[in-house]
């Protein structure tokens, strides 16, 4: 499941525009499927400045652990505390209630540099 309206990274994050210079970030359905049941999420604090590629936090399942990478540079303006208390939300609704952070972008146009849905489908071999 790769929603058409989102943008994606090679590291399996999705990015959705929420305002002129803000985006919401989560991990893809493919990523949650690979991880298995998420039991622990660690998110950054609001106000943290991040550079694209920085680790934003971790998502951990019984079987494995993955870093969450900042898809773009900016400042963390919101974190989804609900997934910290109910990590299974990431499995249940990776593109919805399972979102992770919101970032105010240094460069709003940088979103255009991410993969589109077709590019991400190619990456994960989904047809």
């Amino acid at each position: 499941m790769v929603p058409e309206e989102l943008r994606y990274t090679e590291q399996h994050e999705w990015v959705a525009r929420t305002g002129d210079d803000t985006v919401r970030v989560g991990i893809t359905d493919y990523a949650q499927g690979q991880l298995g049941d998420v039991v622990f999420v660690q998110l950054p604090e609001v106000g943290r400045k991040v550079t694209a590629g920085d680790s934003l936090g971790e998502v951990e399942s019984t079987k494995s652990v993955s870093d969450i990478y900042a898809p773009l540079s900016g400042e963390v303006v919101a974190v989804n505390e609900a997934v910290v208390t109910a990590p299974e939300t990431i499995n249940e609704a990776p593109y919805g209630d399972g979102w992770l952070v919101e970032v105010r972008l240094d460069d709003p146009a940088s979103v255009q540099g991410l993969l589109d849905a077709a590019g991400y489908r190619d990456k994960i071999g989904e047809v």
Partner: protein, 370 residues
């Protein structure tokens, strides 16, 4: 097996695919990792019952008047003392005492033994048993392809099985086995497992596997037994403090480091590895396997360094680790120096560049009925 070979399929492959299992390559086999949720599968085994396909495991059969003597020479355990229809956990070691595999040996007849090996080691174990048995009047056969293996594990397992067989389950003790008819199929029914729960393992002909699986599935409700994959098998055995070959047990360590020196029987005459193992027993191991419970939420994982919490100096290595579904906190097994192995020593694990405090605890992490 060559790396380019496609993974082998068990007789239940079509069943797994029909259930929508997430399949993974494991020891040369395509195996179910999970069906829907490894947490649900884990809890099902702790609270009800889970159903596993373990047909990737190796089955090696020894028959003949000196089958027991050959096994006594080839393995570290005392197989000559194994009663009819009893099973024993044991190991096969190299001449230097390194563990080649851990095994369960079932005595299936007066002169017949079934040796169950880990899938990744089946070829090595079969070859070693053949070589070590060469001076004995016994025949060694790798019969892995003639066996499927199903396991039904959990507190509800005996009740489920009782609806499908007339076998006397009440008198089938832990680590015992008997030939039985289950749902119309001839099986070797064993009260063994790798989950820390009561449960059974059913060895059957490959052609019977699917019918037996469906009968077991239908024996309870829609969720009992719940099909369970290798991910839950791993978290279940970790909680139960059971070693996994390639993690806690390797060619580089003897059973004594693993805290399993009790399986080595020196009072049975010569056996492969005896001299090296006796020397190790007498000298005492310098490192030992311990349980670790993390104080935080980040889990130690296999391969992470165990460090001195004050200096950060590496002192050991994690062999398995995960957030424990039953305990709700991360647990791990690790090798550490003997002088740092007493409960409750405070240690730390380097979890991807950051030290996380852990405490040494007694194994297992979980004991049923506790």
């Amino acid at each position: 097996m060559q790396p380019q070979d496609p993974p082998k399929q068990t007789p239940l492959h079509a069943v797994h695919v029909a259930l929508g299992a997430n399949m993974t390559d494991f020891a040369g086999f395509s195996m179910p990792l999970r069906y829907t949720s490894e947490l649900a599968e884990h809890h099902a085994v702790r609270q009800g019952a889970g159903l596993f396909d373990l047909s990737h495991m190796g089955e090696i059969v020894l028959t003949g008047p000196q089958a027991a003597a050959a096994l006594d020479y080839a393995l570290v355990g005392n197989i000559g003392k194994l009663g009819h229809h009893r099973a024993r956990y044991t190991m096969i070691c190299a001449p230097d005492g390194g563990v080649l595999d851990d095994l369960i040996v079932y005595r299936t007849g007066e002169q017949e033994y079934l040796v169950v090996a880990n899938a990744a080691n089946t070829d090595v174990v079969a070859a070693e048993l053949s070589a070590r048995a060469s001076g004995f009047d016994t025949e060694v056969t790798d019969a892995s392809a003639d066996h499927a293996l199903l396991a039904v594990q959990g507190p509800a397992a005996a009740g489920l099985l009782a609806t499908l067989t007339d076998a006397d389950l009440d008198n089938l003790k832990y680590y015992a086995c008997l030939p039985a008819r289950v749902a119309g199929h001839e099986v070797l029914l064993a009260r063994t497992g790798y989950t820390g729960e009561d449960g059974f393992e059913l060895f059957c002909a490959p052609a019977a596997a699917e019918s037996l699986w469906q009968a077991l599935r239908a024996a309870g409700g829609p969720q009992v037994p719940l099909p369970a994959g290798l991910a839950s098998r791993d978290s279940l055995r970790l909680e139960a403090g059971m070693p996994l070959y390639g993690h806690e047990l390797t060619r580089a360590r003897t059973p004594f480091e693993a805290g399993l020196g009790r399986v080595v029987k020196f009072d049975k005459g010569d056996f492969v590895g005896r001299g090296a193992l006796l020397a190790r027993k007498e000298a005492g191991p310098t490192e030992t396997l311990v349980g670790l419970v993390a104080r935080g939420r980040r889990a130690p994982r296999a391969g992470y360094p165990v460090v001195d919490p004050a200096s950060g100096t590496p002192i050991g290595t994690v062999t398995s680790g995960a957030p424990s579904p039953t305990l709700g906190q991360p647990v791990a097994m690790a090798y550490v120096p003997v002088d740092r192995s007493a409960p409750v020593t405070e240690l730390a694990v380097d979890v991807r560049g950051r030290q996380e405090p852990v405490d040494v605890v007694e194994l297992p992490f979980y004991r049923r009925g506790a």
